[in-house]
C-alpha cells in the first residue's frame, strides 16, 4: 500500500527509515486532503442539483446552525490538525537530534558547489561517500549566500548559512546514489548546484577506504549534470585534525591555549570538547561545535570563569574551513578517546608561533576582509 501510494505521488524511493515514517504521515495528510476537497466538491454539487432555482425571486428559509455544532466542528478539526502537528513535531525533533557517535562531515556550500570534509580526513567536492547503516551528521555552513542542502530520497533539507553552523543527520539503509540539490535560490547557477550522496555497502566501503574507487562513485562523479566545475568527484585525503593543528598554530592560538591540560592565558583545549564549562556569568555551557566556533568569532560572550576577556575576535579573519578544522582538532583532544590521534608533546613543541611573524596576517578587524577581492565586491 505504502509502495503504491509512493509511486502514485511520484515520491523517490525512501533510503532512510526517517523517510519512511515521514511518508506515512504524508500519505495520511494527503488522503485526508483528497477526501476533504472531494467531499466539499461533491456536497456542493449535490446541493446545486437538489436546490437549483425553480423560478425567479424565490424565497428561502433562514437556516441557522446551532452554535454547539459550529464549535464542535471547529474543535474536531483542530484536534485532527494538532494530532498531525504532534506526530510531525516528534519526527522533526528526532530529525534535528543526531544520535551520539555519528560520523561527522563538514559541508561547505559556495556558489555553486558542495564541498565535503570529514573528520577522518576524507575530502571531496560534489560527491559524498558514506557507509550504509551508519548515522552521518552533517555540519553545514556557507561561504557566501544562503544555500540549502536537499536530498529528496532522505526527505531532509537544511539551509547552509554564512557565518553559522547548522546541522542535519541521516542514516541510509539502502546502498545507492542519491542526488543532492541546492534548494535555496543562490544566483545564476542555482539550478546546477547539484551533488550526490553515494551510500556504499560495508565491503564496498572497506575497499573505498583502502583507496579503491568503486564504480558507483566514479559514476556519480561523471554525471554530466555534475561536471560543473571540472573538480567534481575529485578526492583529496588529508587529515583534518592535522590541518586544524596547523591552522591553530598559524593563527597563534597556542600562544594562549595549551593542549596538555595546563592552565595558560586561556583555557586548555584538552578534554574541552563536550565538557561542561563554567562561565564568568555564573551559567554553564556545553562545549559543542557551535560553542567552540562562537568562542572564536565572539570571545567576549560566554567568557570562561576565571579568565579575562582578552581574546581578539576572529570574525572575518578566520575562514570557515580553518575554523572547522580547528574545532575538529579540539575534538580530537577528548579525554575519552581510547588512543588520542595526536601525540601531545610534539604539539607543544610547535606551539607558540606569533601571528605577526608568520606570513599569514592575523586580522582581528572584521571590517577589512583579509581577502581583498571580497572587499571590492560591493
Amino acid at each position: 500500500m505504502q509502495e503504491l501510494l509512493r509511486r502514485m505521488l511520484f515520491l523517490p524511493p525512501e533510503a532512510t527509515s526517517v523517510a519512511r515514517s515521514i511518508d506515512r504521515l504524508h500519505f495520511f495528510v494527503i488522503s485526508v486532503t483528497f477526501a476533504g476537497a472531494f467531499a466539499v466538491g461533491a456536497v456542493a454539487f449535490a446541493f446545486l442539483v437538489r436546490y437549483r432555482a425553480r423560478g425567479e425571486d424565490e424565497a428561502t428559509p433562514e437556516v441557522i446552525v446551532p452554535r454547539r455544532l459550529e464549535i464542535g466542528v471547529g474543535l474536531g478539526l483542530l484536534a485532527l490538525f494538532v494530532f498531525w502537528w504532534f506526530i510531525g513535531f516528534r519526527q522533526y525533533v528526532a530529525i534535528e537530534t543526531a544520535p551520539p557517535g555519528s560520523l561527522e562531515v563538514y559541508v561547505t556550500a559556495k556558489q555553486w558547489m558542495w564541498k565535503f570534509s570529514r573528520a577522518d580526513g576524507e575530502r571531496s567536492a560534489g560527491v559524498l561517500v558514506v557507509p550504509k547503516d551508519k548515522s552521518i551528521r552533517l555540519l553545514l555552513t556557507s561561504r557566501d549566500v544562503v544555500h540549502s542542502f536537499f536530498v529528496p530520497a532522505f526527505r531532509i533539507k537544511q539551509d547552509a548559512l554564512p557565518g553559522r553552523y547548522t546541522s542535519l543527520w541521516f542514516k541510509a539503509d539502502r546502498a545507492g546514489t542519491y542526488p543532492v540539490y541546492c534548494a535555496e535560490y543562490c544566483g545564476v547557477d542555482h539550478s546546477r548546484m547539484w551533488a550526490s550522496v553515494v551510500v556504499l555497502d560495508a565491503p564496498d566501503y572497506e575497499r573505498y577506504l583502502a583507496g579503491q574507487t568503486p564504480d558507483r562513485v566514479t559514476h556519480a562523479g561523471a554525471q554530466p549534470e555534475l561536471a560543473n566545475d571540472g573538480i567534481v568527484g575529485a578526492r583529496e585525503v588529508t587529515n583534518m585534525v592535522d590541518e586544524g593543528r596547523a591552522a591553530a598554530s598559524r593563527y597563534g592560538c597556542f600562544s594562549c591555549h595549551t593542549v596538555d591540560g595546563q592552565r595558560h592565558i586561556g583555557p586548555t583545549w584538552q578534554g574541552l570538547y563536550a565538557s561542561t564549562v563554567p562561565l564568568a556569568s555564573g551559567k554553564t555551557v556545553v562545549a559543542s561545535e557551535d560553542y567552540l566556533t562562537r568562542s572564536m568569532m565572539d570571545p567576549h560572550d560566554d567568557v570562561v570563569a576565571g579568565y579575562s576577556p582578552i581574546m581578539p575576535t576572529y570574525q572575518g579573519a578566520l575562514p570557515q574551513p580553518d575554523a572547522a578544522a580547528i574545532v575538529e582538532f579540539i575534538k580530537s583532544l577528548r579525554y575519552d578517546e581510547a588512543s588520542p590521534p595526536v601525540p601531545l608533546p610534539s604539539v607543544i613543541a610547535v606551539a607558540p608561533v606569533l601571528p605577526a611573524v608568520k606570513g599569514a596576517p592575523l586580522n582581528p578587524n572584521p571590517l577589512t576582509p583579509s581577502n581583498p577581492s571580497e572587499g571590492s565586491q560591493r
Binding site: 494527503i30 437549483r52 478539526l77 502537528w85 549534470e225 570574525q315
Partner: protein, 550 residues
C-alpha cells in the same frame, strides 16, 4: 434617468482629479489588470522555457530575472491591491451606505503612489535586470550586482499606498457607516476588507522598514544583516515573513468576502453562520500574525520555534476550514442559479480546500523538511493565490460587472471560460505537486531529465489557463460596449450595493440608503415587505413622475 458616476463628467481631467471612490476603484482595477496581464505573460514565458530540462530559448540569467519579475509583479502589483483597492474601493462605501470613503483625497493619493511605485518597480526590474526573487533574501540580495535598489524602492512606495488604503478603509468602516447599520449587519465583504486593512496597516510598515534597511545596505554598505559584521541573515527572513505571511491573508481574506457574497446571492440564502464567518475573519487577521516562522523550518531556527510556529499555523487553518463549511452549507435549501460567478465559487471551494489542506501539510514540521523550497510549495501557494484569490477575483469581476458598468457580460462565454480556468489550472498545478514530491526545487532553470514529462503537462495547462483568461478579457471588453443593459439589480441580490442604480449615481444613494432588509435576507417575509414598499413608493411617486429626475 439621472447621471451615473460614469456620465456625470466625461472629461479626462475629471477622472485624473476625481475624489469619487468608484472612479478610483475603476482606475485601480485597470492598473491591476495591466499588472496581471504582464505577470501572466512572464509566467507563460517561464512555463515555455521549462518545457526542456536545459535551456530552450533563454539563459539561466534571463530565467532568474523572469521569475523575479513574475513574483514581484504578481505579489505586490496585482495580488495585494487587486480585490481591496479595486473592488474594496468601489463597493465598501456602497455596502455601508456612505457617500465616499473617509479621506477621498488620501484615496486618490494612494492611487498615484501605487502608480509611481509600480512604474519604479517595473522599470527597475526590467532595466536593472534584478534576479533576487521576490523574497530578496540576504546576503544574496545585498551582494547582488543587479539593480536591487530601484525595485526595493518601488515596493517600498507601493507599501505606503497599501498602508494608506488600509487606513482609509478602517476609518471608513468605523466612522462612515449609515446610522441604521450595526457592525453585525455589515456585509461579509466589508468585514473581510476590514480584516485585510488591519493587516495592511500593521504588517506593511515592518516590510517597509526591512526593505529600507536592505536598501541602505545597498546604498551605503551598512550591512545590518551581514554575518561578517555580526549581523544575522536569518533575522532578515524573520522580518520579511512577519510581513509576507500576513500578506497571504491580505490576498485571501477579500477573496473570501467575495465568495460569501456570491454564494449568498446565487443561492438566494442567508449566509450560514454569519457570526462564525465574522469571527473567523477577525481570527485569521490576528492569528495570521503569529505563524510566519513556518516559512523557516529549514532555515536554522530552533526546534522550539519550529514547534510553536507549526502549532500556530494549525490554528489559522481552523478559521479557513470553518468558512469553507459555512459556504457549502449556505447552498443548503437555497434557490441556486448557476451563473458564471457561482461556477467560480465552486472552483474556489474545491481548489481552496485542496490548497488550504496542503498548507496544513507543509506547516507540519517534519513534512516540510521535504517540501520546503520545492515545487510542492509552489503548487500549494498557487492553489491559494490563483485557485483561491484569482478565482474569487474573476467571480468578483463577473458578479460586479453589471454594477460597475451597467451592462451584462455574455453568460455562456462566461461559463465556458470559467471551466477553462478551472481545468487549465488543475493541469498546470497538479503536476507541480508531483514535481515537488519528486524533489524538484523551485527557481530551477535546469532540471534532471526525469522531471520533464510533468513539466510538459504543467506547461500545457498554463496555455489552457492563459487562453481562458484571454477569452475573458476579450468578451468583457466587448460587453463594455455591446453588452445588454443590466438594470439596477440583475442578480436580484439582497446585498446593499444593489439597492442603488447600476452604475450608481455620484453620491451612491438618492436619499437615505434603504437598509431595513438584511444583506442576506431572502425569507418570504422580507420579500413581501420589499414588494409592499415598492408599491408604496410607486404610489407616492405617481402624482409627479418627474420628481427627483434630472
Amino acid at each position: 434617468m439621472s447621471a451615473s458616476y460614469l456620465t456625470v463628467d466625461r472629461t479626462v481631467w475629471s477622472w485624473i482629479n476625481t475624489r469619487d471612490h468608484k472612479r478610483i476603484g475603476v482606475m485601480f482595477f485597470v492598473l491591476n489588470g495591466l499588472a496581471l496581464l504582464l505577470g501572466g505573460l512572464f509566467a507563460l514565458a517561464m512555463r515555455t522555457e521549462l518545457l526542456t530540462p536545459r535551456s530552450l530559448f533563454m539563459s539561466s540569467m534571463t530565467y532568474n530575472r523572469l521569475f523575479t519579475l513574475h513574483g514581484v509583479i504578481m505579489v505586490w502589483l496585482f495580488m495585494i491591491p487587486s480585490i481591496p483597492s479595486a473592488f474594496g474601493n468601489f463597493m465598501l462605501p456602497l455596502m455601508i451606505g456612505a457617500r465616499d470613503v473617509a479621506f477621498p483625497r488620501l484615496n486618490l493619493a494612494s492611487l498615484y503612489i501605487y502608480l509611481v511605485g509600480a512604474v519604479v518597480t517595473i522599470v527597475g526590474l526590467v532595466v536593472g535586470a534584478t534576479d533576487t526573487g521576490w523574497t530578496f533574501y540576504v546576503p544574496y540580495s545585498a551582494k547582488d550586482a543587479t539593480a536591487v535598489l530601484p525595485v526595493l524602492f518601488g515596493v517600498f512606495i507601493i507599501g505606503w499606498s497599501t498602508i494608506l488604503t488600509g487606513l482609509n478603509f478602517i476609518v471608513t468602516v468605523h466612522k462612515m457607516r449609515a446610522k441604521n447599520l450595526r457592525w453585525m449587519q455589515m456585509p461579509l465583504f466589508v468585514w473581510t476588507i476590514y480584516g485585510t486593512s488591519i493587516i495592511q496597516v500593521l504588517a506593511t510598515p515592518v516590510l517597509a522598514m526591512t526593505l529600507l534597511l536592505l536598501g541602505v545596505d545597498h546604498w551605503f554598505d551598512w550591512g545590518i544583516f551581514d554575518p561578517m559584521r555580526g549581523g544575522d541573515p536569518v533575522l532578515y527572513q524573520h522580518l520579511f515573513w512577519f510581513y509576507s505571511h500576513p500578506a497571504v491573508y491580505i490576498m485571501i481574506l477579500p477573496a473570501m468576502g467575495v465568495i460569501s457574497e456570491c454564494v449568498s446571492t446565487f443561492s438566494r440564502k442567508n449566509s450560514l453562520s454569519y457570526e462564525a464567518i465574522v469571527w473567523a475573519t477577525v481570527g485569521i487577521a490576528l492569528v495570521g500574525f503569529l505563524s510566519w516562522g513556518h516559512h523557516m523550518f529549514t532555515a536554522g531556527i530552533s526546534v522550539f520555534d519550529a514547534g510553536a510556529f507549526g502549532l500556530m499555523s494549525m490554528f489559522v487553518a481552523i478559521f479557513s476550514a470553518i468558512k469553507v463549511f459555512t459556504w457549502t452549507g449556505t447552498l443548503y435549501r437555497g434557490s441556486i442559479s448557476l451563473k458564471t460567478p457561482l461556477l467560480y465559487v465552486f472552483a474556489f471551494l474545491f481548489l481552496f480546500v485542496f490548497g488550504g489542506m496542503t498548507g496544513v501539510a507543509v506547516a507540519t514540521t517534519s513534512l516540510d523538511l521535504h517540501w520546503q523550497d520545492t515545487y510542492f510549495v509552489v503548487a500549494h501557494f498557487h492553489f491559494i493565490m490563483v485557485g483561491g484569490t484569482l478565482t474569487a477575483y474573476l467571480a468578483a469581476v463577473h458578479y460586479w460587472f453589471p454594477k460597475v458598468t451597467g451592462r451584462m457580460y455574455p453568460e455562456r462565454l462566461g461559463l465556458l471560460s470559467a471551466s477553462g480556468v478551472f481545468f487549465g489550472f488543475l493541469l498546470t498545478f497538479v503536476p507541480q505537486f508531483l514535481l515537488g514530491n519528486l524533489g524538484m526545487p523551485r527557481r530551477y532553470h535546469n532540471y534532471p531529465a526525469a522531471f520533464q514529462p510533468l513539466h510538459v503537462l504543467s506547461t500545457a495547462g498554463a496555455y489552457v489557463l492563459g487562453s481562458a483568461l484571454f477569452l475573458t478579457l476579450g468578451y468583457l471588453l466587448w460587453s463594455l460596449r455591446y453588452g445588454e443593459v443590466a438594470g439596477a439589480n440583475p442578480w436580484r441580490s439582497a446585498c446593499f450595493e444593489w439597492r442603488t442604480t447600476s452604475p450608481p449615481p455620484p453620491h451612491n444613494f438618492e436619499g437615505t440608503p434603504p437598509f431595513e432588509r438584511g444583506a442576506y435576507d431572502y425569507t418570504r417575509e422580507a420579500l413581501e415587505r420589499e414588494r409592499a414598499r415598492a408599491l408604496e413608493s410607486d404610489a407616492a411617486l405617481a402624482p409627479e413622475p418627474e420628481a427627483g429626475h434630472v
